[in-house]
Structure formats: structure tokens, C-alpha cells
Subunit: 264 residues, 2 copies
Amino acid sequence: MAGTDSSIKIELLPSPVVILCEPQLGENIGTAARAMANFGLRDLRLVRPRDGWPNEKAIAAASKADHVINHVQVFETLEEAIRDLTLVYATTARLRGMQKDVIGPDEAGKRMADHIGSGQKAGLLFGREKWGLLNEEIALADMIVTLPVEPAFASLNIAQAVLILAYEWRRQSGQANTLPFGSLLHEVAPRSELVGLFEQLEATLDESGFFTSPEKRPGVIDNLRTALTRGSFSSQEVRTLRGVISSIDRCHQYPNPKRVRPAP
Amino acid sequence: MAGTDSSIKIELLPSPVVILCEPQLGENIGTAARAMANFGLRDLRLVRPRDGWPNEKAIAAASKADHVINHVQVFETLEEAIRDLTLVYATTARLRGMQKDVIGPDEAGKRMADHIGSGQKAGLLFGREKWGLLNEEIALADMIVTLPVEPAFASLNIAQAVLILAYEWRRQSGQANTLPFGSLLHEVAPRSELVGLFEQLEATLDESGFFTSPEKRPGVIDNLRTALTRGSFSSQEVRTLRGVISSIDRCHQYPNPKRVRPAP
């Protein structure tokens, strides 16, 4: 979905911190940064990235999420990386047998939004590509977050897991729950204009012999009017449709018009 | 998030169709297929894929989402690709100035869930990597869906846009709104066991000279009991904590214990 508007300044509002534990591939760090930027997150922290930092592949994969990738912080231990946080969720796709509550991304988004809204800091832990988070890392978190995936195909790329959590945080946080643009719907034409359209159409249909029996005419008209009302046409659209009818009407010559009088 | 369990059979329940219009890169087709599979979607249709079909890069990028990638259908026109659908949403990140309603992914997920739940077929259109959907393609859709992104960084990879919509459909559809695993929380210990822990702890603290003044003792105890109650310990955890206290107590010799009597 191409659509970045570089004329708009990025708002740096408080948002969840993302912590990647021992990420292996630079591409995944970059795509995670991009996913964060899409939903307004910006604080990315890495614990012992395998290939060190900075990482050219990460920067390339971030697709210009510079405000995230240029401010990455690197830590030797997870404890240091989460030192300033007061709410920490561990993401995992596997049942761990740990005595921790398990919640979904919607609940996590809501709780993080509440927490951050009250002026505190929250963070999300993501594990290694191959085997996720270690139990000792999960033990440092308040709760486990898992995604409502198809159990038989539950493996998500890190950036995709980051994306869902970032999306849910943004959706649930009052500060950013609006769409970037809204409906541009016209005003609906006053009913009198719609009735004008109906009458023109029905007169034309009377001329053209459309109604084969006077008994059925009222029911057919009801159905036509019902269908045409459903479109909520604008005044301009009513005018266009009236032009369409006139235009077709002018082109036709009715060699053998079956005139049908309206039923009383 | 590693976690696919290949012993579980994939459920093929009715789900939204995904239609990619003129996708350029095979990798994006593959990662879109994987994102679909994560949330239980399976019907992927391509309109004029640039590099033809089948595409080795797509198959590699699908990470074994074989039940999706092996059943891809390819069409010459979008009209053919959506011929059997009765609800079609167009995804776009840009304001189009078209007279169509614009909704977010949560609303789209809900409407698709309702529609599919009533036995009908729904589909989601995604555009080209570089410039999205054409206006003539959007004109074939019922509504526009856009994501609540940060407007200054709104560009999502196709697979990521597919992922969010697939997630929202699954979240909102009654058939699959559960997490793959739940909390494994123990039963909380009966309050008598907790009180036993408190009494042991407080007796030990009395012995050790922890309470420096008798007046403050009740308030300190209230605070300690409050903090320890919050953990909702299991019977096993209470036993472990009592062992911890005993163990520390045995190790210490209190050379100069300041005995403090409980306040009356």
C-alpha cells in the first residue's frame, strides 16, 4: 500500500518500546523498524544482535524508517534493555508451561495504551527467529502475549508479529485511533430530486412498453424505486442518471409501443 | 515467533478471498500467502502477475504455506477474479476522492465475518507494490479499507497489509477468535496458607530485629501483607516461600537482636 506522505511531520508521541532479543538477521531488524514506524512506534532496542550494530541490511530493509533505525539502542543484557519500563509483555507462539497470564494482542494493546496514557513506559519482547524467547527472558515479563493464529500455521516473521502488536496498540490508544483519511461521501440529494428521477424513468418506461400488464406495474415500480433509493445518489448523480434516461430514450424509436395505462 | 505445530491439521473454513492486482515481486506473493495462512485464509487469486505463474520466488517466500500457494488462481482481469464474490473491499493507503465509504480493518473484519458467516463470499483487493490499485479497480469494490497508520509513514508492504486484514477477520469471526493456548495459571492457595506464610515471616522478622519501633510495626506488616497478597501465590509457591524464609533464617545468626514486642 504505497502512500507515505513525506510532507507530513512524524508525530513522536509516547508509544511502546520494542525489544528484540538476539535477532539474527539484519533484514528482520529493518522490517521490524518499518512495521513500528507504520503505527507510530519509535523506540527499538536490541539485545546482543548476532551481526552487531549498525547493520547495513537492517538500514536497507527499514525502507526509510530513519527516525527508528537511527536511534536504535543496543544492550548486553535484557535486564538493562528493560530497566526503565514498568510494564513488559513477552510475545510467544508456543505454550511455555509458565505461571503467567496469556493475553491476545487486542488486550495487550488496550493495557499498553492505558499504561502509557497514565504516563508510564511499556515494552514488548520478541525472541530469536529460530526459537523465540528463552524462559528466563519470559520470566522478566508481566504477561505473555500470543496471536490468535491458525494453530497449524502459527509461525510469524518477527516484523509481522511486531506489526500486529503495533497496530493493536495504535488502534486501542486514544491518541491515534483515527484513519489517515475518511469517507468523502457527497450529500444525498433531497427526496424530491429522487422522485423526479423516478417519474421521468417511469414515464419513459410507459412510453417504451416496459410494463406488460397494468396489474403488475405498481409492484414493479416499487421494486425499481427501492433499488434506486438504495444508492443514496447525490444531486449530481441524479442529474447524470436523468441524462442517461433521456439519452437512451432519444435513441430509441418504439415501432410498436404497447402503451399501458397506470393502474388506478 | 516460531511455533508452527505440524501435527495439527489445518482447518479449511470459509474465509475471505485475497486478490492481488498485478503483483510485481514473487517474494510479495509468497509472503502474502504466508500471512494469509497465519490467520486461516487460503483462497489467493492473482490478476496478471508480472513474472507469470508459478513463480519459484513466491513458493520459497511462502514458508510452506503450501495449501495456499499450491491453489493460487490466475486471472486476466479483475472482473473475472471477483466474479463469485458478493462483498469486495479495496485496500488503499491514499485518499482517492472516490464516492465510496472508507472503513478501518476492524470494521472490515467485522463485516466480512458477518457476510461469510451468513454463507456468502467476500474478498479483499490489494494493488501493485509501486502505485496500489487503479481507480477503475476500486470502482468495482463496495468500500475502501485503509489502515490507521502514522500518516507520515504510511507505506506498508503488501504482505503486511494482508496480515492486518487477515488478523482482523480472524479476530472478529466467531469461528476462530480464540488464542492457540491460554493461561496456565495455578489455583490460588487458600487464604489460611497465605496467613501461615505471613505469620512465619513476621515471627522471623521479629527475631531478626527488622522492626525498629513497635509503633510502626502494624503499618509495616500491613504493607508487607498487601504486597505478598498481590502475587496470588499457589500452595506450592507458598511452600517455596516459607522454605526461603526458613533457609535464610537458619543461615543468619543475630548477634545483637533488637527484640521488639508486637504493639498491642
